[in-house]
C-alpha cells in the first residue's frame, strides 16, 4: 500500500480505484497518498455537469467523452447519486448510460454516493478529482446528483460548469432562476426534439440577457439531443472555448484558488465532525452534555462552546 500514490501517478487503474475507496472511507492511508499527489495536479480541465434528474446528464457525458476520445484526450468521469439518509445505502445507476465507454482504457468511470453531503456533490469529490488529475486524465467530468434549486456546489470544483435543461418543465424554469440558473458557464437544452424547445431556449435566453454581468462573454445556450448524438461537437467546442477564455483572461488561477479553499474547508469540516462525533468521544463527552441540555441544566450554546474549546486546546 506504500506505493499506491506512485502507482496512481503511472495511471494504474486498480490503484486509482482503490485509492478512491480509501478516500471515501476516510482511511489514513488515503490521506498520506493525497499529500503526495497534490504537487502533481492542475493539468486536467474539470467540467461540472448539473441539472434536474432525468435531464440526460449521464448520456450527455457519455457522448462528450466520445468526442474528447476522438481528439486523443483521456477522460475521468465521476458520477454522483444520492445516498439514502435512512439506510446509508445507495443505488448508483449513472454507469448504465455510459456502457459504450466500458472497454476504453482511456476512460475511467467511478460512481459515488453522496454519503451525507448536501449541495449535489459527494464527500470525497475533491479527492477523486485530484486522483484523476494526478493519474494523467486530461478531462474530468463531475456529474452531480439530479439537482433542485440550491445544489450549486459544483461550481466550487469545476473550471467549466454546464447546466442541462430540458423542455417541458414549463414555468418551473422561473423557479430555477435563483439557484442553478446562476451558475452556468454554458447551458445545454437537451432532448431538443421535444415539444416546447423553442420556448425553453427563449426563456433561458431572456434570463441570460437580463443577468449577464460578464461583458466579455454571453453565456452560450446550445441545443442537444444526446441520445441521437446531435449538438455534441458544438458543445465540446464551447467547453474548450470557455477554458481558453479563462486562461486568456487569467481567471483560471483565481477560480482554482476557490476550489482549494472549498477543499480545505471540507477537510477541516470532516476532521471536526469526526472529532466530535467519533463514537467513543460522543458517548463519553457529548451525550452527557445533551442530557444536561434536556434537563435544562445547560443551554445548547454553552454546550457547543465547551466542545469547541476542547478542540481548540
Amino acid at each position: 500500500m506504500n506505493d499506491i500514490s506512485s502507482k496512481v501517478l503511472k495511471g494504474d487503474p486498480r490503484a486509482i480505484a482503490r485509492l478512491i475507496t480509501l478516500a471515501e472511507d476516510n482511511n489514513p492511508i488515503a490521506t498520506k497518498a493525497m499529500k503526495k499527489l497534490h504537487p502533481h495536479t492542475g493539468h486536467a480541465h474539470v467540467i461540472g455537469i448539473t441539472g434536474v434528474m432525468g435531464s440526460g446528464k449521464s448520456t450527455l457525458i457519455s457522448e462528450l467523452t466520445r468526442i474528447y476520445r476522438k481528439k486523443g484526450k483521456t477522460v475521468g468521469i465521476l458520477a454522483i447519486d444520492p445516498t439514502s439518509p435512512f439506510s446509508g445505502g445507495a443505488l448508483l445507476g449513472d454507469r448504465i448510460r455510459m456502457m459504450e465507454l466500458a472497454m476504453d482504457e482511456g476512460v475511467f468511470i467511478r460512481s459515488l454516493g453522496t454519503r451525507g453531503m448536501l449541495g449535489g456533490l459527494a464527500s470525497a469529490v475533491y479527492d477523486v478529482v485530484e486522483i484523476f488529475d494526478a493519474s494523467g486524465k486530461d478531462i474530468i467530468f463531475v456529474e452531480t446528483v439530479g439537482v433542485g434549486q440550491a445544489e450549486v456546489d459544483v461550481i466550487k470544483i469545476a473550471d467549466t460548469t454546464l447546466v442541462i435543461i430540458v423542455p417541458g418543465l414549463g414555468d418551473s424554469i422561473q423557479t430555477l432562476k435563483a439557484g442553478i440558473m446562476e451558475i452556468a458557464d454554458i447551458y445545454a437544452v437537451n432532448k431538443a426534439d421535444r415539444a416546447g424547445v423553442n420556448q425553453t431556449v427563449a426563456e433561458v435566453q431572456s434570463l441570460v440577457e437580463i443577468t449577464c454581468s460578464d461583458k466579455e462573454r454571453k453565456t452560450p445556450i446550445l441545443e442537444t439531443i444526446a441520445k441521437e448524438k446531435k449538438g455534441i461537437v458544438e458543445l465540446v467546442d464551447e467547453i474548450d472555448k470557455h477554458k481558453k477564455l479563462l486562461e486568456k483572461t487569467k481567471k483560471l488561477e483565481p477560480h482554482r484558488r476557490k476550489r482549494y479553499q472549498a477543499e480545505l474547508i471540507e477537510i477541516i469540516r470532516k476532521r471536526l465532525m469526526n472529532f466530535v462525533f467519533d463514537e467513543s468521544t460522543f458517548k463519553e463527552k457529548v451525550e452527557p452534555l445533551i442530557d444536561k441540555i434536556a434537563n435544562k441544566k445547560l443551554d445548547p450554546y454553552t454546550a457547543a462552546e465547551e466542545i469547541l474549546s476542547r478542540i481548540l486546546k
Partner: protein
C-alpha cells in the same frame, strides 16, 4: 469511518429480464450497501472492467437464459486471470440444482435461486466479503 460494502449488479449475455436483479439491488441498497447497476447485455470483460473501476467488494450476476455455466464462469476466470482475489462473486437466476456445485467450484461462492429471501443474500454477502 467503516468501509461501506460496494456491490456491482450485472446481467451478462442476452437476457432482458432484470426484475430479479433490480429487486436484489434495491434490497442491498436498503441494507446500507452501495449498489452499482450496470444494466443489460454485459460481456464478462465489461463486468470485470466495471468491477475494477468501481472497486467493488462483490459482483452479483443475474441470468435467466440458461447460459450461466459459460457466462458466470467467464467472469470468475477473468478475475483469476487478472489476479484479483478480493472480490466475492454471487449469482442468481434459473439455475438447475446440479449446476450449483460446479459453479461454486468455479468460484461463484453463493448461488441463489427463485424464492430466496433477500435477507439470505444480504447475510451471505456480509459474512463472506473478503475485505
Amino acid at each position: 469511518m467503516a468501509h461501506k460494502i460496494r456491490v456491482l449488479i450485472a446481467k451478462p449475455g442476452l437476457d432482458g429480464h432484470d426484475r430479479g436483479a433490480k429487486i436484489v439491488a434495491r434490497a442491498l441498497r436498503d441494507a446500507g450497501m452501495e449498489v452499482i447497476y450496470t444494466g443489460l447485455h454485459q460481456t464478462a470483460n465489461m463486468i470485470v472492467e466495471a468491477a475494477i473501476q468501481e472497486d467493488v467488494d462483490v459482483i452479483g450476476l443475474s441470468l435467466l437464459s440458461g447460459a450461466h455455466m459459460t457466462l458466470f464462469i467467464d467472469v470468475s476466470d477473468l478475475l483469476k486471470k487478472k489476479e484479483i482475489d478480493d472480490i466475492l462473486i454471487v449469482g442468481g437466476g434459473i439455475i438447475p440444482e446440479e449446476d450449483v456445485p460446479k459453479l461454486k467450484k468455479a468460484g461463484i461462492s453463493g448461488v441463489f435461486g427463485p424464492g430466496t429471501p433477500c435477507e439470505e443474500i444480504i447475510d451471505f454477502i456480509k459474512k463472506n466479503v473478503k475485505r
